[in-house]
Symmetry: C2
Subunit: 333 residues, 2 copies
């Protein structure tokens, strides 16, 4: 094997919209594991809106700095192990960053069962699937017959949220950008209705799609769409706050949505923020549910796989612009 | 008795700050009860920030219109009864509006036990006390040793929230406007610290007063103070959304606080809006707790009683400007 490998560095922190020139592809010396570490080869890198949020400041992880190898989770294979419990050929999910090889301490890594296709380990059986599952069921707490709305509904998480809500007997409405995505929602993914936020008055479109109000809103986007939902919530409605992709690809937002906290009070809403790691203790039960739904065909899994490490910057920029349907990832080798 | 009585009409809906010219004192024919109704004489009218919110639009009650008798809750005495279960001399709390006499259907009224002083039925044993109790304990869910922050801390609700949190073993910080109020908080009312939001950088002052972050924030005000608290919340913190007095005395707000929903996600916060009526089923147990704390001297009750129906507009305008310490009410007779 070559002594070097390729990696992508965050050359400069974006002040506004993320662009290709914020990244630089570099050849670097391949790392070697020390005692307690494993050498990993990246197979598929996960693209997530949160990647962009990490450039804005500290979140649930420390902020990225200019010059850092770009951070990102990946499905990776152990190539060499100096850590107990892991052997060459084992699969793990780890924050390898955007590079072909990485060394990491073995004690934070969990061996994943191989499954077919492997990509499902990054989508429905990975962070996206668990985020949809726990955010909807633990924070949203939908009851059969209730109306559930999800934004970024054609994305990795949203596409699963709507389908899980349907499995639980809810009426499901997806918000997405453009007619093509909306057609996928109400067609292949079985949503009861779709709202195209690019078509104009989202608040009114939601009022028409949810005449009795929204009981559960799973928020992936924040901003104006969150505001439109706030005004349409039913009394005692619940909002699962998962992310704010509308706010990531810009300077930090000047203001939050109107109606906070006024509408929260008068409608007696509950907003709950969550990060999927908080629920990892309940992971096995969730995965068992997700597996059974995929096997029975109740849960359709959409994936969007791009080839080549050099395409990672474009893949993230495109994801922030809403290009993808389903879980976007980049195949490295 | 005279055939007429005095009442105050909302002459005009305010577009910005509430002012005396929005009200008009009129002499009107005294109402007479029909079957099923009682005739009530108002004793003490409760002044609440929510009175102003009712002029902005529908909340948990329909909006006020120009020409309406100004709405407001009052401690009132039954003068004449054509309703079962109520007799002359009985005390009730009812939305009589700002007038000397009112007729109301008896079936929505609950007879109150007489207690000494009567004014406590509007403060600690009334809506203010129950709002503080349920909002803090049911929505905030503080644990002993946690840090609890309350805004409008010298007000009717806030002054009780801080003291109840202290009874539950929490560290308590009150936010209020001006040094005099802050001195009352840390003196007579036993708060551990006070932050004067008029003194400048509230966000920094809170960071200094709450070095480990805020576990529970009881929000009476919304706006910039809510924003300052959001930035200082501890992970898994809870915000009880009770009201937004900073937003009431103006045109409807253009924007909400920065950090919504970003900080809700990364800090895994829960925001819960509530209206005290939602908890009326648990009312008796709450009143028993409040009574025992008042009797033992653990709960200090501050009241601010103004005399004369004609002073109601000024009393409300002053309350919105933060004049009062403790529960403000107007004694009618």
């Amino acid at each position: 094997m070559s002594r070097t490998h390729r990696q992508i560095v965050l050359a400069e922190l974006p002040q506004g919209k993320l662009a290709p020139e914020h990244f630089r592809l570099v050849e670097a010396e391949r790392p070697s594991p020390v005692d307690g570490e494993v050498l990993l080869r990246g197979l598929y890198v996960s693209l997530d809106a949160a990647n962009r949020a990490w450039m804005q400041g500290a979140t649930y992880r420390s902020a990225l700095k200019a010059g850092d190898v770009m951070a990102g989770g990946a499905l990776a294979e152990v190539v060499e192990s100096k850590a107990g419990g892991l052997a060459p050929g084992d699969l793990v999910f780890a924050d390898t960053g955007w590079r072909e090889f990485a060394t990491l301490p073995g004690r934070h890594l969990t061996k994943l069962p191989r499954s077919e296709p492997l990509t499902h380990l990054l989508s429905v059986f990975g962070v996206a699937g668990l985020t949809a599952y726990f955010g909807l069921l633990e924070c949203g707490r939908p009851k059969a017959g209730e109306t559930v709305v999800v934004s970024a509904a054609a994305g990795a998480v949203g596409s699963l949220v709507g389908q899980i809500a349907k499995i639980k007997g809810c009426r499901t409405i997806g918000i997405a950008g453009g007619r093509a995505k909306c057609a996928v929602l109400t067609g292949e993914l079985g949503f009861d209705a779709a709202v195209d936020y690019k078509a104009g008055d989202t608040r009114r479109a939601l009022r028409e799609a949810c005449p009795n109000g929204i009981d559960v809103y799973f928020d992936n986007v924040g901003g104006e769409v969150l505001e439109a939902c706030l005004f349409n919530m039913a009394t005692h409605g619940r909002i699962a706050c998962c992310g704010a992709v509308s706010q990531y690809d810009a300077a930090p937002p000047a203001h939050g949505p109107r109606g906070v906290p006024g509408l929260i009070v008068t409608k007696r809403l509950t907003l709950t923020g969550f990060v999927v790691m908080d629920f990892y203790g309940q992971r096995e039960a969730a995965l068992a549910d997700l597996k059974s739904w995929v096997e029975s065909g109740q849960l359709v899994v959409r994936e969007d796989v791009i080839e080549g490490l050099e395409n990672l910057p474009g893949a993230l920029i495109g994801l922030l612009a809403g290009e993808n349907i389903g879980k976007r990832m980049v195949k490295l080798s």
